[in-house]
Symmetry: C5
Subunit: 330 residues, 5 copies
Amino acid sequence: MIIDCAVYQQGKRRPGTLALEQAYEAACEPGAFVWIGLYEPDEHEFDSVRREFSLHELAVEDAITAHQRPKLEAYDDTLFVVLKTARYLEADESVEFGEIMLFIGPQFVVAVRHKPASELRGVRKQIEDRPDLLRFGPGAVLYAIMDRVVDDYLPVIEGLDKDIQEVEREVFSEAGSNPAERIYMLKREVIEFHQSTAPLVEPLDRLASRPFALLHQDIGEYFRDVEDHLLRVVERVAGFRDLLTSVLDANLTQVGVRQSEVAMRQNADMRKISAWVAIAAVPTMIAGIYGMNFDHMPELRWVVGYPLVLLVMAVACGGLYRAFKRNGWL
Amino acid sequence: MIIDCAVYQQGKRRPGTLALEQAYEAACEPGAFVWIGLYEPDEHEFDSVRREFSLHELAVEDAITAHQRPKLEAYDDTLFVVLKTARYLEADESVEFGEIMLFIGPQFVVAVRHKPASELRGVRKQIEDRPDLLRFGPGAVLYAIMDRVVDDYLPVIEGLDKDIQEVEREVFSEAGSNPAERIYMLKREVIEFHQSTAPLVEPLDRLASRPFALLHQDIGEYFRDVEDHLLRVVERVAGFRDLLTSVLDANLTQVGVRQSEVAMRQNADMRKISAWVAIAAVPTMIAGIYGMNFDHMPELRWVVGYPLVLLVMAVACGGLYRAFKRNGWL
Amino acid sequence: MIIDCAVYQQGKRRPGTLALEQAYEAACEPGAFVWIGLYEPDEHEFDSVRREFSLHELAVEDAITAHQRPKLEAYDDTLFVVLKTARYLEADESVEFGEIMLFIGPQFVVAVRHKPASELRGVRKQIEDRPDLLRFGPGAVLYAIMDRVVDDYLPVIEGLDKDIQEVEREVFSEAGSNPAERIYMLKREVIEFHQSTAPLVEPLDRLASRPFALLHQDIGEYFRDVEDHLLRVVERVAGFRDLLTSVLDANLTQVGVRQSEVAMRQNADMRKISAWVAIAAVPTMIAGIYGMNFDHMPELRWVVGYPLVLLVMAVACGGLYRAFKRNGWL
Amino acid sequence: MIIDCAVYQQGKRRPGTLALEQAYEAACEPGAFVWIGLYEPDEHEFDSVRREFSLHELAVEDAITAHQRPKLEAYDDTLFVVLKTARYLEADESVEFGEIMLFIGPQFVVAVRHKPASELRGVRKQIEDRPDLLRFGPGAVLYAIMDRVVDDYLPVIEGLDKDIQEVEREVFSEAGSNPAERIYMLKREVIEFHQSTAPLVEPLDRLASRPFALLHQDIGEYFRDVEDHLLRVVERVAGFRDLLTSVLDANLTQVGVRQSEVAMRQNADMRKISAWVAIAAVPTMIAGIYGMNFDHMPELRWVVGYPLVLLVMAVACGGLYRAFKRNGWL
Amino acid sequence: MIIDCAVYQQGKRRPGTLALEQAYEAACEPGAFVWIGLYEPDEHEFDSVRREFSLHELAVEDAITAHQRPKLEAYDDTLFVVLKTARYLEADESVEFGEIMLFIGPQFVVAVRHKPASELRGVRKQIEDRPDLLRFGPGAVLYAIMDRVVDDYLPVIEGLDKDIQEVEREVFSEAGSNPAERIYMLKREVIEFHQSTAPLVEPLDRLASRPFALLHQDIGEYFRDVEDHLLRVVERVAGFRDLLTSVLDANLTQVGVRQSEVAMRQNADMRKISAWVAIAAVPTMIAGIYGMNFDHMPELRWVVGYPLVLLVMAVACGGLYRAFKRNGWL
């Protein structure tokens, strides 16, 4: 699907949108360049683009099938750039990735988006308001898109940061839950996010430090700025990985401690119950003795026998109670 | 065993297969090259190949004994390439490795496969359908084979990814199994897969960035594309290693939690049983007291003695029951 | 807000402070340079600065929004430097970060501070006392500020070191607390501190080894000295990370050991109580037997029956007591 | 002790062995070189060698004292190479290290072995059978020895691999042993092996890629081949380290699981015993009640009293039994 | 404090010691150089040195305050070197660090020691016995001191190695101690030792590979030798870190296993005691039944009643005993 197709000249958009055929012609006018935005183009649409701009077959193959890694490929007089877009989904705390492929030629930009990618229309508006930049030609468009893609990484970083902080609170709270699965799933997200962002550093560095013939040389500083933002993302992601490893370890300790506390309380309960049973066993034993039916048991005849035995029982129980209390068993 | 042997000229296969002797002659015709496919050749077969193409003795030695690491060796006017093929075996969740050795000369390609290697015949078909590529000579064949080998890594990646996801579900399920052994064995596979793929990055980079004299210079971009796919494999494998380390740690926590839960339930059972025994001990003790045979026990003479004692017993038991209930012991 | 604004000539400050407008003029006098200190400038203030010194729009954008990573950007004839300041807060054992952005031109220095940044006024005093350095121009000011920022990292290092030592004592003390959360939070601080300091190494290295045209060449050694201090900070921070990982592991062991010791003591208590109950069960059983009401129980008639049974009970209890004592159960 | 000392000319050994003095003279004949093999030479022997070939004092010092790291030192026109040999001892599953020091000059090779080093005599035989290689001069001897030393690492790798697999089986078997010590000791071996092999990569790379003036330039490819074998060793050793770390972690899980299983079985036993005691407590309690000696206990007079009570006891016990059974306590 | 101050000419020490003032003059004589050894110099002493040799202010600042990291700084025609000395203290198994700062000029060496540093006097003796080396000038002194400092690392390595082996024995012994704290403290030492030694590799590499103008070019090989010894130290320290991480993990397993064994023994004891109590409960219950006072209990009248009941009791107890024995509970 063709999203937008326009000619830019002298840093300004020529009004209206063009059909593809007109675009090819316009791309030959000196000082002009066309910017074609495609969304999951079908083979037919793309084939005409490929032929008109004589794009390299390998780049075209990559552009049609998604799931590429971020990269910058320089063919004779065309640059092919793959970008990974990322969006943080609040609902299920996950990161959704999309892809944008760009063909940059001396007089054209072809942008191919794959669902679910970040919107590019806003970018077009933004850059059209900057004739000073647009004057740099296709390189300015490349900058504008990369800048947007990298800026869109920031909300993802914030979302992951917030999740990690929640998980920390959960680990160190008294509540006693075990967020091991959530920690692990965050680590998975972070690793995938790393794989989508880190490989872009090298292409940006190449764009910033040894500009390609087909890019205006003053655009280098702009790519340096994007690289700088990307580096910040990559460093924070590296920090997240380290934190999540530590929090998983800390969680093991915390879960262990909480379980141990439960076990200790249970053990203390058992000890208390057993201690009471032990106390009750003493009068039972004494009573058993004086329940024996021997003919000759002189104590049984004593008038004070019964109260004396009750006293002995009471003293024995009282003694045990105090001893157990002293040991902290009751 | 000779699998196939053909001459290619002007990007087209000359019809039919050749005997080895004819191949040597054909390799001297200007603008032609031969492609010889061997499968675990015996010494005799290989010796003739070696002599005709004057292959370097070190390369020949490596080609006969398997278990090499992936590499690219440049001898005077021959390239020697070792590739590791990989195949994911669904049945026992393991990865099977094979080896392909390639000798690339100005006018010949000798491909030696070791069991169990990936099929090359499909590759031959594919490349024979691309006369535009074949025109590049032996380098095109090298590209086609490397492209196939690297593409064949993808199903392995998918297989390992699926296994890791299964293991994750097992770790975090309620079922309570302990997949430590499976996690470890996956890690073993992943490490071995890493050792078979990562060393290939450097040779591909050399092929892509500073093409060898004997390769057509336009073929470089094709190797760059293969390198790119390989990098994606290597990065995902690195991610797998990290994930498996984390999942092994998480498993320790989960197994510990589940075992603790069992222990806690057992402890709670014990506490309940002990509490009941303690309740039963009280009437037993009281009964024992009134079962004593003292002559002077006035209570025994009371008419209300017996019902009173039963009442006392009931009250005591009821009181204990309520107290234990309040403590959560029953 | 404008903090200070002065002209320096021949290594000396021209007395008084200037309005911004005068500053721009002064910056054009040969052999002079102005140093403007701003604190969270509003758009209006900054806009005039930007226009007068024709600062690059990307640098200006970075200077207004905080949360940049440390970096050095070279625009045509301006250097843009971002520094992260750090301050250790004793009260809550945390590190507070601030930011300083510097624009260095051939005849001007613009320093922008973001709250809460370290004070720069002290730096101005210090450097004004060193006419020999000031003679080097804006580069000397850049050196003085970077030197101060890096020196201010040292108290943070000391504070973190002290905290880590406290945590170590807590882990290995007998007291039995579980400082897992504190260890983790320290690790978080250390990672953040690393992200604020490590990226500054590369800019300092560039300043030290291949001086920029607009810096006096003799200033290089001074930046080398700052880099050296920074490297010491970075190395110690790396050591902290390693230590905190180890101490978290050691804490797991220590907490486990202490919990196990409690559990063992509880188990030993239970065993002791149970052993006493077992001892009491024996005379209870014997007494029960002689409490049976059979008509024909010859022992009951014996005169020595009762004392004999008491003896048997005593011997049995004594025997059990000794056996349990021998096993260490009592 | 002098092991062997011979002159080589035109790729052939001149028959017989020489005394040291003759060797020095032979080393001056054009087109010839001597190869002196020493085994733990005493100071006197070595001193004459040192003087004749004017070896550098630092190299000589290193050659006499063992315990060097593998290295390659280039002095004016002498190369000094230190190699670590390794041998796997099946008996006590350990690796024994030895050292070989080599002085390579334009017309001499001095090989010094330290006990227990791998045998070099076999190497001499082998290389003497390859006049084509020997023609390259001392460099060929260097290659032959390095090739042998590196090839001798392979059995060590196999031995360690076998040990690790044994340890894996032990960890994941049902048998219940705790191989933590064995795992740790294997890790120790692997680390030491790494320290003996990894530093040799860089010297081999130098030998392969920028050949030294005193080595024949065609020998480079041979060193590349040795380097390749060494890299395979180093990569596998790195894999071993990773595996051993994982297996130590997995062992912690497995040991914990097995211990937990024992504890659970013990707990289940305790619960069963306690349940039986609880069942027995009920008739004991009832019997105690009817064993009381109150004058007014009407039930005692009933004819059906006794059987009724026995029925009640049986019903109570039966009820408890069924309840406990239902809970899984019996 | 001035330790020693002498002039060296032609590789020989001019007899006697000099006052500082004479030293400055001597340092101007062609072909001579002075070597001044200072021990924690006061400001006054150092100031005169600084002025005479016009040392760079930054180096002087570093030389007065201790706690620098090892480094090599090249100022116009002076080298400034910071070395960390280390000494293993047997008594408390710790490593004591000191510092030596060196200023190397074309005709002077100023060595500043900070307590507690290794003795340098021995070095002076040693190097004075090597006129061939001394002839190389100040560079020879730098080599001699660095060589000594690095050689002094070896006893530290040996001491740490011995400690680690002790700790290993403790971990894997039956004795059952928990050396977690000792392991951790060793790790701390090792990290600190790493920070004192590893940064010295780069300076040594610079000294060895691209000699400075003010050092004799033949001295490079000597620094290469020192670097080599240092690399061995650094590699072993890296190995120590890895080992200590593993031994801390292994200790967790071992401590857990030993604690589990104690718990299992305690549980087995409890089971045994409970089993005996359960056995005793049976005759108690039976005796209770026949102790009931029902009028109509025919068994009580039987002559064989009493012996029969005793038999039943014995059989019941015997049966239980055998069953418990079979289950392994007794």
